[in-house]
Structures are given as C-alpha cells and as structure tokens.
C-alpha cells in the first residue's frame, strides 16, 4: 500500500506523457488478443454446442444443465478435485512449514537443503511423474520393496481405485512443497529477533514461541500460500495425465483432465468451455472466502 501511494506522489511531479500509450501498445494488443477476447469468446462458447467441424450452435444454458444433471461423471470429477485439494494443500503446507522452521534455525548446510528441496519444483512434471510411476510399480517398484520391510504386502498403487488418488497426492506433495517452503522461509527470516527476545523475557519457550509469535507474524505469508496452493491444486493435470489418465474407474479424474478430455478428445468445445467457467467460479468463490475469512486470523501488524 505504502509503495503505491509513494508512486502516485512521485508520478504527480512528472508531467503528462502521451508516449506512455505508445509503450503500452504492444502489451495492450497482446492483452486484448490473448486475454480479453478469449475470455469473452469462452463465455459465449459455453452457451453453444461446437464440435469444430460445424459452426457453433447457440443452446442457452444446456451445457450447464447437462453438466449438473446429465454428465455421468461430473460430480465424481468435482468430488475428486475437492478431495485432491483438501488433502494435498494442508499436507503440503504443514510439511513445508515444518521444513522452513527447521531451516530457519540457522543450521549448517541450509543452502544445500534448500536446493535439494527445491529441485523437484523446477523439474518437469512429466519426467517426475514417470519416475514415480516406476517407483509405484506393483511388481518391481521400490516402494513395494521398501514397505515389505515393515511387513506391508504389495500394493497396486496406481491401479487401485482407493489408493490411486493418495498416490498422486503424495507425488505432488513431494514435488511442490519446496515452493511453499521457500515462501515460508522468506517470511520467517523477515520476523525480527526482538519479538522472540521480548517473548523469551516473558518466559515463553518452544511451542509457545511458535504458536504466539511465529504463526501470527507469518499469517500474511500463510494466506498467500493457501490461496496460491488451492488455485494450483484445482488445476492439477500433468501428473494425472501421466500417472493414471484419470483412472482407475475415474478415481483420479479431475476437472482439468475432464475438460481436456471433453474438449480435445470428444471435441465438445462448448461443454469444455462451460467446465472451464465452473473451474473459475469455484476458484473465485474459494479465494473470496479465504480473503474474507483472513481478516479474523491474518495479522497485519508492524
């Protein structure tokens, strides 16, 4: 906020410069062609039936009606997406926060740890998902080999309707937690030592410090992490495409995979556009709710 008002002040001292439009022209053009127009077109397409081969035909809200009442797997797909999000996001956040807290203890080798945890984040999801498929292999995968030491029988991870989703979630937690960890670490490093010292004088230790100093002061970062993580979790695709193709029995079929399949395999472009708008609606509502609720727990002190 402060930065914005400072710029406004600085800008006032400058004079009106119409060549600003000239500098903006390329990006404004791209903005219209690749963002504004497609969004508007997509809104219209969602009310049409369109298979690419014949011109789009206006059908009113039929796509949405079909989605909620006719599509045999829509509710399952939505449920799967929510399941994925509700499990993946908290797991990811808890592990990332724990790691960041440990890293923030000014230990030796912090840079090496941070690098190692971050490597999966910058790795190709396709490459990583294929390795995990291999590790999950029922007969020769190393995961079944590892659990055999603690007496757990072989599991058919990706082909068991109950285990497939947790398996994909585990892979994605592994892949993405480094991202949140870096955010948390930056937040932790921004908490001035004086807060801890003052609390220690009052006799606070360990968990109390974490609960009453660290968490409140970290809450703005936490809000950002939660918002971004939920948005990303609703858009999971690559891992599903490689590891399960939405199976078995649609147990891992999620919104974006369904959208991809409907649009680009079944060529139901109008219906796929409608699915995309439902994705948007969900993310919009969730984000609004998150930021509204934030007032009660996010601490904008200092």
């Amino acid at each position: 906020m402060a930065a914005v008002s400072a710029t406004v002040g600085a800008a006032r001292r400058r004079r009106f410069d119409p060549s600003g439009y000239l500098f903006l022209l390329p990006s404004l053009l791209a903005f219209c062609v690749f963002i504004v127009f497609p969004v508007a077109a997509s809104f219209y397409l969602a009310f049409t039936r369109y298979d690419i081969l014949t011109p789009p035909r206006f059908v009113g809200v039929q796509n949405y009606v079909f989605m909620f009442t006719g599509d045999p797997i829509f509710w399952k797909v939505l449920g799967n997406t929510i399941y994925y999000s509700v499990v993946q996001v908290p797991l990811n956040v808890v592990v990332a926060l724990a790691l960041a807290t440990a890293l923030n203890m000014r230990l030796r080798g912090v840079v090496i740890y941070r690098t190692l945890y971050f490597v999966p984040v910058v790795s190709s999801i396709i490459a990583v998902a294929i390795v995990w498929r291999w590790m999950y292999d029922a007969d020769w995968g190393i995961l079944n080999w590892l659990i055999s030491f603690v007496g757990i029988p072989k599991q058919n991870w990706l082909f068991d309707p109950k285990l497939a989703m947790p398996s994909v979630i585990a892979m994605n937690v592994w892949k993405n937690m480094g991202y949140n960890m870096v955010l948390f670490l930056a937040g932790l490093q921004g908490i001035p030592d004086v807060y801890y010292e003052a609390a220690k004088i009052d006799g606070a230790r360990g968990w109390h410090l974490f609960r009453h100093i660290t968490l409140p002061l970290l809450s703005p970062v936490m809000l950002f992490v939660l918002v971004i993580s939920v948005i990303n979790s609703f858009q999971v695709f690559g891992a599903i495409y490689i590891m399960t193709k939405g199976g078995p029995l649609d147990a891992t079929n999620v919104l974006v995979y369904h959208l991809y399949f409907k649009g680009f395999q079944d060529l139901q472009m109008g219906y796929a556009a409608a699915l995309a708008w439902v994705l948007f609606a969900f993310l919009f509502v969730i984000t609004i709710v998150q930021t509204r609720f934030a007032r009660s727990w996010v601490h904008y002190g200092q």
């Binding site: 497609p38 790691l99 230990l107 974006v256």
Partner: protein
C-alpha cells in the same frame, strides 16, 4: 552480527547449564531435514540408475541401486530410433524465444506503468491484474480456435507468440522499476534523454536482478509446460520434450530404461539453469509472494 549474537546466547545458555535444551531441537531439525533430503533425492537417483541399466537389470529385487555394467545404449536409442534431438531442440528454441519475448514485452509495458504518466494508466494496470484471477483454462479453447483459424497449429508460432506476454512478467518488472530512484531518471532527462534512452540507459542497467529472475522463471515455465504444447501440436517434428516424453510413455509403457533416460534428458537443462540461477529464482518467488 547475527552469529555473534548466537554465540553469546550459546555461551549464556551453556553457563546456565541448559545446553541440551538448545542442542536437542537442532539435532532433531537436522535429522528431519536429512531424512527429507534423502526422500527428495531418491527418485532422481533411481531415475539415473535405471537409465543406465540393461533390461535384465531392471526387473530384479532387491533393486540394483548402482548398475554393475552401466550402459549408455538407452540414451543412444533415444537419439537414433526416436527424434529426441529434435524434441530437445524444439524445447530449447521455444523456451529461449519465449524468454526473450517476455522480457521485451514486460520491460516496455512495465516502464510505461512505473515511470510514465498518462491518463488511465492505473486503471489499465488494475485491469491487467484483475485477469490474473481467471484461470488459463478459460482462455484455452478460444485461443486454440484462433490458432487453428490462423493456421498456426502445429507450428513454432503457436508455441511462442501467445506465450510472450504475461501479466505476471509486467507486474514483476513494474514492482522493481517503481523502486528505482526518480533522481537518476531526472538527471538523465535534464541531459536530454528521451523515454527510450531512459529505459535502456538508466532503468534496464539497474534492473539486472529482476531481468535475471524473470528470465529464469520464463525459461523454466516454458520448458516444463505441458498442456499447451500437448494441445497445440500434433506432428512428431513439433513436439517439445515434455510431449515427446509423454508420447514415449504411450508407446513403451513399461520400458523403464528408455523412459528413465528420456526423463533424465528432460530434467538436465532445467537442473543446470536452476543451479546456476538459483539465487534469482528463490528471490523471485519470495518477492512475488511477499509483495504480491
């Protein structure tokens, strides 16, 4: 400063005789981090190890962590039987082109938003930001149709042009440009510099960190992008490495030696870029996260 404070604290703690209370959490933290680090590394070790094996060394238990006779044949196969060289070239060419394009479009418009005064400027910027709420998938189908209409499907155009403008890039650069002192710009303007000279001689030379950050982000994002090239290309010649790898899996579903070699090739460039430019990458995440 910090380390001397810690040392002083440690001495005080030791003299109070509560050393274990301070050491134990650190030992536990190290243990947790080390276990985590091993978990992070195992899949990559397993990938490289499998990629160097012959078929008969793959299906054995207990698993063979280090192949007895490492072979390069799997990699050779990728380059002779499958056009992996082409995939890698496509990915590199597309990623570098998008990176350059995104840097240029972002710098020019961020300059206008951050350093020039004109009517509607902040409204336009707010409009840009508002669209960040709309997931990319909403635009996917119309853009696909436009690309089809233009005859760009399955060409480099479709892989590059629609990707070179991002609101994120404009935002990141604008935030950085805002913090460059006005005095430097004013001095240049008194010397008779126009907007272009100010941008190229004053602003950009001071913007090394943000340019590096956006460059790394852009390169890695494009290299690792999957849904876009999957939908927009069909011929083998136009596949980027992610799509090529997915196709390889479709054809050789459990030929793990070959699949792992392909995975290593897809990862290697991003790993190198990340290790070289790690500082900027981590900085960029922290900046966009904490100030966003």
């Amino acid at each position: 400063m910090a380390s001397s404070a810690i040392a002083a604290e440690r001495r005080a703690a030791a003299s109070r005789g509560v050393r274990w209370g301070r050491v134990l959490p650190r030992v536990l933290a190290h243990a947790a981090l080390a276990i985590g680090a091993v978990t992070m590394v195992i899949p990559f070790v397993w990938m490289v190890s499998t990629s160097l094996k012959t078929e008969d060394q793959v299906f054995v238990l207990p698993p063979l962590w280090i192949p007895t006779h490492p072979v390069w044949g799997n990699y050779a196969r990728l380059f002779t039987e499958i056009p992996f060289a082409r995939y890698i070239f496509n990915s590199a060419f597309v990623s570098i082109s998008v990176m350059i394009g995104e840097l240029v479009t972002s710098a020019i418009s961020a300059f206008a938003f951050a350093r020039l005064e004109f009517r509607g400027r902040d409204k336009i910027f707010a409009m840009y930001l508002a669209t960040l709420m709309i997931p990319f998938h909403v635009r996917l189908i119309p853009i696909f149709l436009v690309m089809k209409f233009l005859g760009w499907l399955d060409t480099y155009y479709v892989l590059i042009i629609p990707q070179i403008f991002t609101v994120y890039g404009v935002f990141l650069m604008r935030q950085f440009f805002l913090n460059i002192p006005q005095e430097l710009e004013d001095a240049a303007r008194i010397d008779g510099c126009g907007n272009l000279r100010v941008l190229f001689n004053i602003i950009l030379p001071l913007s090394g960190p943000v340019i590096a950050t956006l460059a790394v982000f852009s390169f890695l994002n494009t290299w690792n992008d999957f849904l876009w090239p999957l939908i927009m290309t069909t011929s083998s010649n136009m596949r980027v490495i992610g799509v090529g790898l997915a196709q390889l899996q479709n054809e050789y579903f459990t030929l793990w030696t070959l699949l792992m070699a392909g995975s290593v090739l897809a990862l290697l460039p991003t790993l190198i870029v990340f290790l070289i430019a790690q500082k900027y990458f981590v900085q960029g995440i922290a900046i966009s996260g904490l100030k966003g």
